[in-house]
Symmetry: C2
Subunit: 412 residues, 2 copies
């Protein structure tokens, strides 16, 4: 059956999530398929940040740490994110960046599993997770190693020397999603712990940290949580590990008595010990606005719409662009992936640049992946038609072959 | 000679820095002596952040990493801070928190001096610096130790096993300042490296990182740099160490080719390798406003005014409050300290709370230190008179003894 724009307009009219579209600032002339890289701006954010700056910082100054609860923000926003990923109360805190939190989680997991030497991960894991593991192993110099295998080999590769399995649940390239419960069960069966990077999961798909019996998780605030550029990240530690899990990055905000200014470190109880230095309050406050908005929607409704958007985008690509050599990199079928679709194409880079120039914002991931994110909170169905129509024009006219689309940017 | 308020008003009239007062938002009824804890809000900040949020994030979305130079902000703002602390071009980057940067600097310094085992510091160093050192040593488990001595013992305690001397130049409690050049020379003479925490130095006193031949420095953005609550911190690494200094926290923003998404870490050239994860852009932008403002003033003029404010505050305390048992904790005399004055008093906590209730905002540092910061960019002389007058009323009437001033806050 051939799809028409009218069919998609009809889906938009029936979309129960459509009300959220007005809660975001979305520029005219833009079809935004990159909310999986930087989420859109909630309409409530400018007012919140202006108030924070002018009333809390400007007027109440240092007193705001107490009177406006700045000191509790990391735990408060962390608790809200915990609800989005199925973690228990008091298991999540906002702190630092995802990279730094990977270091904390890995160092704590290695110490909990001190008689084992191996970190097992996927070769195509998001690179910073692997880089942070390398840096940690460089410090330890105790015979640890980082073992990298293919996604399908993970479960079978867990062995008696595996201290921790470090995986990004949803692949940033293909959108392929691991079954957290199954991999965690396989890891535990062999005595290994798990660290889950949820950057492309939190706010994108239903996650059940507790149900999966997972050990550690980390994730960022600037993608599906709409927390703003470089929003602080989160770290989740299962209650059963909290008393023994030690943050190697032991800073004063994780101290049991930070304003006692004691000479020696004494870890705070619970997840609070995974805080380190003074958090960036402006960025934290913007993150809270995004998370609050996400909590208003049902993650199951978001996921259902995301699956539908994937299916329609895929059908439109086949219908309109079948002859142009796009090869699906994402898992086909209803489960097992995050909220994006990826295609490999040898001219992926200039094609993405031409799309951006025409207002269709996706992104490119080396070596040849064109990536389009679905953010059902603010992305409509008819926009998918328009995006594919523009892509077809770009391909039919070979617009992408213009020299201006071959220039490289610092950030892709 | 007795000082009067009229004398201080006269100093304000002649103050060449007085013009900067109007560049800050300062609430009515407040005498702010805590800019050494959280700097005041520059009047330019709300507009800058509103524009960043609405135009860069909201309108230009992900493209802003390239088109609005977000990707260069850490280096750009770092370069500006470098000028404030006498570092060379390309030696400073903004990244993470001071705590995290202490970890990076210490781990790099220990690796550069790998045949030595000791980190030497001051017992009353700012606690998080010591906590981060503890955490690092806990990972290394190679016989390293943290040696803590008194300030006067530092130079003599550096020996052939000292890998690195870790000091906060200006004591957060007393304001006492180390001579960076002398201690660095003493360290180098014994083959040790130096890590200087400049949290209470940057923007407060003239610092000459290059002239001191220092090795590493770190510092925060939310005190004298007026970058806002939890503003990101900076790290400085001398050019001569950059090629060999490895950040143990090796994240993708410190990679030679971050958007190549390579499997293995390859450190970027120069100071860029000390970046880790995606930086909090909102907080970074606010920091830049504060730093730009600081660069408009002469640090020597600021320092001269700060010395004068110390002298006057001290004279007023002697003149007005001599009988009330305040004991100066700061170094007396023109040099050797930062931009604050501290007094010990057995009832320091409730006295500070009563002062805050009356609009005189200083702070308390355990166990008994009352701390008053001088921020010559926006603090006038007559305000010192008014602060001391209010303190005198509080002491004369024993107002501080009210039960409401004995309650503890989370943040002191």
């Amino acid at each position: 059956m051939t799809l028409s724009r009218a069919d998609l307009e009809e889906l938009d009219r029936k979309d129960a999530l459509r009300q959220f579209h007005a809660r975001f600032v979305l520029p005219d002339g833009v079809i935004y398929l990159d909310g999986n890289s930087l989420g859109a701006l909630p309409t409530a954010t400018p007012t919140r940040i202006a108030s924070l700056i002018e009333k809390e910082w400007g007027r109440d100054l240092i007193r705001s740490w107490n009177t406006h609860g700045w000191i509790d923000m990391q735990a408060r926003v962390g608790g809200k994110i915990g609800r989005l990923i199925g973690a228990g109360e008091g298991e999540t805190i906002v702190s630092d960046s995802t990279s730094i939190n990977v270091f904390k989680a890995l160092s704590a997991a290695l110490a909990l599993n001190a008689n084992r030497r191996s970190i097992l991960s996927e070769r195509n894991n998001f690179p910073t997770d692997l880089y942070m593991a390398e840096g940690l192993l460089g410090l330890l110099e105790r015979g640890h190693c980082l073992r990298l295998v293919e996604p399908d080999e993970i479960a079978g590769a867990i062995d008696g020397d595996t201290a921790v399995v470090l995986l990004t649940q949803v692949s940033y390239r293909t959108g392929r999603a691991y079954d957290m419960g199954a991999i965690t069960t396989a890891a535990h069966a062999k005595g290994a712990l798990t660290v889950w990077d949820l950057c492309h999961s939190a706010g994108a798909i239903p996650v059940d940290f507790s149900g999966a019996n997972a050990d550690f998780a980390v994730g960022c605030g600037y993608k599906f949580l709409n927390g703003g550029p470089g929003a602080p990240a989160f770290i989740t530690v299962a209650h059963r590990h909290q008393a023994r899990a030690r943050p190697a990055l032991s800073g004063w905000f994780g101290h049991a008595n930070p304003f006692g200014f004691e000479e020696s470190y004494a870890a705070a109880d619970g997840i609070a010990r995974f805080a380190v230095g003074t958090p960036p309050v402006l960025s934290l406050a913007a993150l809270e606005v995004g998370v609050d908005l996400m909590l208003e929607a049902s993650i199951n409704a978001l996921h259902a719409k995301s699956l539908k958007q994937f299916e329609i985008f895929r059908a439109l690509m086949a219908q309109e662009l079948g002859v142009h050599g796009f090869s699906l990199s994402s898992v086909d079928g209803p489960g097992g992936r995050g909220s994006q679709i990826s295609y490999a194409h040898p001219n992926g880079w200039p094609i993405v640049q031409a799309l951006i120039a025409k207002g269709v914002i996706g992104d490119f991931r080396a070596p040849d992946i064109m990536r389009f994110g679905f953010t059902p909170l603010y992305l409509g169905f008819a926009e998918l038609w328009d995006a594919v129509t523009i892509l077809r024009e770009i391909m039919d006219t070979r617009l992408w072959d213009g020299p201006e689309y071959h220039r490289r940017n610092k950030v892709t």
